[in-house]
């Protein structure tokens, strides 16, 4: 690629912030039942909502799962334990970065990636601080 004409590249700057996400609080799904394995890892059984069309005689033919089992790995278990409503995402990231000697943003990537998966599997929900 050749040299370009000399112009300062851009005028508008986006103020990108993830502060709201850090201030949110993850909470456990209280409807899930918890089983702890011998190695300390947590297995959750999450009840699933029935779709509106699930009634006999359809259910005689189509059997839908009524619950989902989610087995958490070590990090998942740790995050689930910390998601008791007393800590914000930022505090969880902070603790994670200290425990695994990661920088804040390295820990943020890992923690938010795991939290996203746990939310998708209905293990956790996020409570946004509306103040």
């Amino acid at each position: 690629m050749g040299a370009k004409k000399a112009v300062l590249p851009h005028l508008s700057v986006q103020q990108v912030s993830w502060r709201k996400m850090l201030e949110a609080t993850p909470l456990r799904n209280m409807a899930a039942s918890v089983y702890r394995e011998k190695n300390g890892l947590v297995v959750l059984t999450v009840p699933l909502q029935h779709p509106w069309w699930q009634f006999p005689p359809i259910t005689w033919v189509i059997k839908l799962d009524t619950e989902r089992k989610v087995r958490l790995d070590e990090i998942g278990t740790e995050l689930w334990e910390q998601s008791d409503g007393s800590r914000t995402v930022e505090e969880i990231i902070e603790a994670f970065s200290v425990r695994y000697a990661l920088t804040f943003h390295e820990a943020r990537l890992s923690v938010t990636g795991h939290l996203k998966q746990l939310i998708q599997r209905s293990v956790l929900v996020i409570q946004q601080n509306i103040e």
Partner: protein, 293 residues
């Protein structure tokens, strides 16, 4: 191979990217990066938001900064939302500060003749402008020199490394607990230098480093030497071997060198790995890490 002594101000940390040094507050991290040496951008962020953009662009010659800034300011002044406009001049840097809506920014530019590179810094001030910090960052931007051994120094993502000037940054991967920079030669296809820094080691490394290094070698590598060395007070696993060359050279059963070293850094608990292939001379690179400058 020890880099030039650079004084890092207290509370600041040094990054070296695309042959430019820059010092930013030690709680800022580089989140985005550009690989293209002709034009690109790196973004630094604090815990909550982006704070600094470092943009470079190779230009034909020294630009007319006065005209450029006047154009810039004229464009800004046309907009009613823009307030608090003031010029900034510091040494070879010139620019201005302005508030656009809720966003207060400082933008400064400077031409670096060695590389014919125009560098722009854009600071984002979420609360109020910190003139001292702005000045410290601007004063810290310098061109990095090639070492006598013909290597460029790079310092980012917890790695402080020297890559051969024959190679360009080809790939960069930054994930949770993994930073990997791959440098490849544009002229010599076999010549590749890979630097890796791995975290969360207790989660995935369940065997000795030497065994891990041997198992992860690419297919087709024949190990000629497998040794444990001590360097910089660290135990280093070292594999030396060769592999079949790529392309038409493979048909002639040509082989190319393979050199891989891995070590646990006792200071930060990370696993570091350096792999250099296709080198025609023995590799005598210093172990890389996040060293004091």
């Amino acid at each position: 191979m020890i880099g030039n002594l650079i004084t890092v101000s207290p509370g600041m940390q040094l990054y070296i990217w695309r042959h430019f040094q820059i010092q930013v507050p030690d709680h800022w991290e580089m989140l985005f990066y550009g690989k293209n040496a002709q034009a690109g951008k790196c973004t630094f962020a604090d815990r909550y938001q982006h704070r600094l953009e470092f943009t470079w662009s190779v230009v034909p010659g020294k630009p007319d900064f006065t005209r450029m800034l006047d154009d810039y300011l004229a464009e800004f002044r046309r907009d009613d939302e823009v307030t608090e406009v003031a010029k900034i001049i510091l040494g070879a840097w010139s620019g201005f500060t302005a508030r656009l809506g809720e966003v207060l920014t400082s933008r400064v530019g400077r031409f670096f003749p060695q590389d014919r590179c125009l560098v722009e810094l854009v600071f984002l001030w979420p609360e109020q402008r910190d003139v001292q910090l702005e000045r410290r960052v601007m004063e810290s931007v310098r061109e990095e020199s090639l070492t006598p051994e013909g290597n460029w120094r790079w310092r980012a993502f917890g790695m402080d490394l020297y890559a051969s000037a024959e190679c360009e940054l080809d790939q960069c991967t930054v994930q949770a607990g993994l930073a990997r920079m791959t440098f490849a030669s544009m002229k010599q296809r076999q010549r590749v230098e890979i630097f890796e820094r791995m975290g969360l080691v207790s989660q995935w490394l369940h065997r000795p480093v030497q065994e891990w290094l041997t198992l992860r070698r690419p297919l087709g590598v024949t190990v000629r030497q497998d040794v444990l060395e001590t360097a910089q007070e660290m135990e280093v696993s070292h594999l030396i071997g060769d592999q079949l060359a790529e392309g038409w050279r493979r048909l002639l059963f040509k082989r190319t060198s393979f050199d891989s070293r891995a070590w646990m850094n006792k200071h930060d608990g990370r696993l570091y790995c350096q792999t250099i292939t296709g080198s025609t001379v023995p590799v005598t690179r210093r172990l890389f890490g996040w060293e004091e400058c």
